[in-house]
Symmetry: C2
């Protein structure tokens, strides 16, 4: 499970690089990068800015509740790509602040985030909510950029793999 | 890790239900459901049919290589929603055919799928490829339907959670 938390950090670095590509695409095509941040796949879906914020929030919440910390999270104030990249950096820093041992007993922890309909066992929360929700916002962010013609591909999303040979 | 394999099955059931909603949406709006199956988020992205097939393939491959089986997979012949739902059912059946014990030693297995650039340790393959790739195709399928106005929301994607109280 700690490997999945480590993977959240890897994906957040990936998300930051996708935002770099968004910035470059906007500059190369002479439009404001904020146009991409305000883009959505459907009028009643949240735009890119929120998708990035919610991927960050999901990683923070999982790290906090599964280590027995209070999840305070970060305020949603970002309006630019550099600000969103800073949010991602803060998120990675928080996730990285917890060592594997801090997650001891995570499977049996009772997890009851504020505003939720009830409590979940840590193992159910992590597998059935944290992981699918993290990837939901991660892939939706990718999909918005892809839909808006930013030149990214699946390997930008998967990232480097530690091949043995 | 076996909990994540179990979660693949849950998400595949979810994907099947999303296809039901697609079918209903097409019928209610008097168009052929195949229009949705051929929809894409960008001209050089794969359409919904392929996203469903690839989510299935990822679950089959992970189950096979981490239990030391040969991944034979299924042929990509589906042209309709009922056919894709049957593909999902076959995939769930294959994943369910493996018990937790069959995955013993998965972290240290050497995984070298056909056509890949190299070999990976099972733990790296699973966390850094299988899980992100599965959700990539799962969320992209959702995003295509959402983009095409099928009335689905995040809770259709997350599904039921096993609340304690």
């Amino acid at each position: 499970m700690y490997a999945q938390i480590t993977q959240f950090k890897k994906m957040l670095h990936t998300l930051s690089r996708l935002l770099d590509k968004a910035q470059q695409h906007a500059e190369a095509n002479n439009f404001e990068p904020e146009v991409l941040l305000n883009s959505r796949l459907s009028p009643d879906m949240l735009p890119l800015t929120n998708q990035v914020q919610m991927a960050c929030d999901t990683a923070v919440l999982a790290t906090a509740v599964l280590t027995g910390e209070q999840a305070t999270g970060f305020e949603d104030t970002e309006k630019t790509i550099p600000e969103l990249k800073a949010r991602i950096e803060k998120t990675i820093g928080y996730v990285a602040s917890m060592k594997e041992g801090d997650f001891a007993g995570w499977e049996e922890r009772i997890v009851a985030p504020k505003g939720w309909a009830g409590a979940l066992l840590g193992k159910d929360y992590f597998c059935q909510h944290a992981v699918p929700n993290f990837y939901f916002h991660m892939v939706t962010a990718y999909a918005i950029l892809r839909h808006k013609d930013v030149r990214i591909g699946k390997m930008d999303y998967i990232g480097q793999l530690p091949f043995l040979r």
